[in-house]
């Protein structure tokens, strides 16, 4: 089959690889009908996430049709022919983390937990196509994929919603939603979102659904800010505006009540000397992540507010504004998305027309053109916001 594989730093290639087979009794094989490129795939592409190996299949946002079911899946919980969306973190549903709905912290699904533990203190869940640190699972930018513990993870789509309506339930829609959910939005809250990429856009939509009074988008790509403005959100371009002053102006001097970092480890900074400082430290690996958005969110948030982090961090940061965080009673909340917790309620919101996930799609390409998709998405060519691939 064809699959999009990582072939080294800044390089992916569509290769012929064997078709997947059942390795565990609760596996299912899915014939992929739609798959997407995620912003976090770019961190892998760039080589910022350790333990990638040449030939790894990329991709953790995918859906399709079940073509084979392992012998351990009983009671018709999943059947050949079912149409399913697959959440990116693999959860067992039985461990203490899963029982507490912390699915991305599942204690049982990462065969490389011993390595993950060295980086993170405690191991985290397995993730498809996301380095060997998260288990070394083959990804979904391919014609077929093996879904692990499929009966506990795959979400069956029974309605006739199109692929593009439900595909993003695999990651970016729940991730954006969790960013807003962690903000514990109250009546009258102003929510500022750093990053107007697909996850940021969905965080904004979710904040509005959850009752935010005003939603502010911060980015430097005008086309992405235009996309947010078209939904009625206020925008700040950090390349030509001082973000903190603009936020004070927009909030009567209070600062946003809730702040969402939808940027993560490869942020850019309006002031080039600050950007260069962190870029240089990252290049020599004396810090792995550039936390401009996080620093600014912490400094901007009103006292007692919440900073919710859904942008991906992989390692260490420098100059964390601990003084602002501590002295002003801020709450920092974060996590890789617990997708399984949000899929069903979000499917409901899509069916009710309250959220339209298709609005972020700008590029539709065949799987064989995946490398082009990475190029336009990474380099923000052709006003690219989200790339969907079809095998």
């Amino acid at each position: 089959m064809k699959a999009n594989c990582w072939t080294g730093r800044n390089s992916v290639e569509v290769q012929d690889v064997p078709e997947p087979s059942i390795l565990n009794s609760r596996d299912a094989i899915v014939k992929i009908t739609s798959t997407a490129i995620c912003g976090s795939d770019l961190h892998l592409l760039d080589g910022y996430v350790p333990t990638m190996q040449k030939g790894d299949i990329m991709g953790h946002e995918f859906m399709g049709e079940v073509v084979e079911v392992g012998p351990g899946i009983t009671d018709g919980k999943l059947r050949v022919g079912d149409r399913v969306v697959v959440p990116f973190p693999i959860a067992c549903g039985a461990c203490a983390s899963c029982r507490a709905e912390l699915y991305s912290c599942c204690e049982n699904t990462n065969p490389n937990a011993g390595i993950s533990e060295k980086f993170f203190g405690h191991p985290t869940a397995g993730i498809y196509g996301y380095s060997h640190l998260t288990g070394g699972f083959a990804g979904g930018q391919a014609e077929y994929a093996r879904v692990v513990l499929a009966d506990a993870n795959a979400l069956r789509i029974e309605s006739d919603l199109g692929d593009e309506q439900v595909l993003f339930l695999s990651d970016i829609l729940p991730t954006g939603y969790m960013g807003a959910d962690m903000c514990d939005i109250q009546e009258g809250d102003v929510v500022a979102v750093w990053g107007a990429g697909p996850v940021g856009q969905f965080a904004m939509d979710s904040a509005r659904v959850l009752g935010a009074e005003k939603v502010i988008a911060i980015d430097k790509e005008t086309y992405r800010l235009d996309m947010a403005a078209a939904q009625g959100y206020t925008t700040i371009n950090f390349e030509d505006t001082d973000v903190r002053s603009a936020l004070l102006e927009l909030t009567g001097g209070r600062g946003p009540d809730k702040c969402v970092d939808a940027v993560g480890m490869e942020a850019t900074h309006g002031a080039s000397h600050v950007h260069l400082y962190d870029r240089a430290k990252q290049a020599v690996r004396s810090e792995t992540d550039r936390p401009h958005a996080l620093r600014q969110a912490i400094l901007s948030c009103r006292s007692g507010g919440v900073v919710s982090v859904i942008g991906v961090y992989g390692g260490l940061i420098d100059k964390f504004p601990a003084g602002a965080w501590m002295n002003r009673s801020l709450t920092l909340r974060t996590g890789q998305c617990h997708v399984q917790k949000y899929m069903k309620p979000l499917l409901g919101l899509i069916e009710q027309g309250k959220i339209d996930p298709t609005r972020v799609i700008t590029h539709r390409l065949p799987l064989t053109e995946a490398p082009t998709g990475y190029d336009v998405f990474k380099n923000k060519k052709d006003r690219c916001e989200k790339v969907v691939l079809t095998p």
């Binding site: 594989c5 087979s21 390795l23 030939g55 039985a94 065969p111 397995g126 196509g129 083959a138 513990l149």
Partner: protein, 312 residues
């Protein structure tokens, strides 16, 4: 996790080890303080080369003395053996190029060093052999009742499903079983074990019977976790590794770091208890052999041949 290596405190009271430590000190002090005089006693000329060689040997002796008297470890004894061989090499060269003056003293020194070497080898070999009893502990929590978790562990023949080093456990009687394990360098080790304590829902303890190649024992304790979170499992394994400290170092070199292995064993036990089996990925298709597979298979489906091997 911790290793409890009791060899340090035992060696501290070992007369032979202490004697060798003091011998090193008595030799080292004059060598460093008066290298020229010492070289004369050996019957070699007082040249710059001989003087500096003597000083260097003195520094080495003082280091060995500090180690043996301060933090005794078999490595210091082996260090002394290495030093002896160096000294013998130097003395042999001195004998070969000797100008005749003080030849008797050099011959006597060589004889003395040969005797010391024999003592050092004896000390190093005997102190190393019984110096590496190892105790490993690991803990995990499984979201099941103590009785359920106990029952799974009590099924001894399933231990190899999650314990990486075990190839087979066969129950041979109500309290006895036969164990087969892989060891470093691909050598298999087998032994008979006896269950010494068995308290349902609380404790299982076992010990290898006399005559086992590797004396080993272990116990696993089960206790209810607070907040209804299931069962806390604590495992302790004690064993004498073949080859003592050397064997331990070799095992580490070949990627079988015992702490890590026991930690991973428990993780897999938890996987079996909570999900039914050991989770495999394309990168680590061998299940319990995952750790030995780095760099791993790429995260892509396996070919038929790779599949056969991984599932074997």
């Amino acid at each position: 996790m911790k290793t409890d290596n009791r060899s340090t405190s035992r060696l501290r009271h070992d007369p032979l080890v202490r004697g060798l430590g003091w011998a090193s000190a008595l030799l080292g002090v004059p060598q460093v303080a008066a290298p020229a005089g010492f070289a004369r006693v050996l019957g070699v000329d007082d040249t710059f080369r001989h003087r500096s060689a003597t000083t260097a040997v003195g520094v080495r002796e003082l280091a060995a003395a500090t180690g043996l008297l301060g933090r005794p470890h078999p490595a210091w004894l082996w260090g002394r053996v290495g030093g002896d061989l160096m000294d013998l090499t130097m003395l042999t060269r001195a004998l070969k190029n000797h100008d005749g003056r003080g030849l008797g003293r050099t011959v006597a020194a060589t004889a003395a060093v040969t005797a010391i070497t024999a003592t050092d080898v004896y000390a190093a070999v005997t102190r190393t052999r019984r110096s590496a009893p190892m105790e490993l502990t690991a803990a995990t929590t499984v979201a099941q009742s103590p009785d359920e978790v106990y029952a799974l562990w009590r099924d001894l023949e399933r231990l190899p499903d999650f314990m990486a080093h075990l190839d087979e456990v066969r129950v041979t009687g109500p309290r006895t079983s036969h164990w087969r394990a892989g060891a470093p360098f691909g050598k298999a080790v087998e032994w008979d074990a006896e269950t010494t304590q068995d308290v349902p829902g609380r404790l299982i303890a076992w010990q290898s019977v006399d005559g086992a190649e590797i004396d080993n024992s272990g116990e696993v304790r089960f206790a209810p976790a607070p907040g209804g979170r299931g069962t806390e499992i604590r495992v302790t394994l004690r064993y004498d590794l073949p080859g003592g400290a050397l064997g331990k170092a070799a095992a580490r070199y070949f990627g079988e770091e015992p702490h890590q292995q026991l930690d991973d064993d428990l993780r897999r036990f938890k996987q079996i208890a909570e999900t039914g089996e050991v989770v495999r990925s394309e990168g680590a298709p061998g299940g319990k052999r995952a750790r030995g597979e780095f760099p791993q298979h790429p995260a892509r489906p396996l070919t038929e041949d790779e599949l056969k091997e991984a599932l074997a």
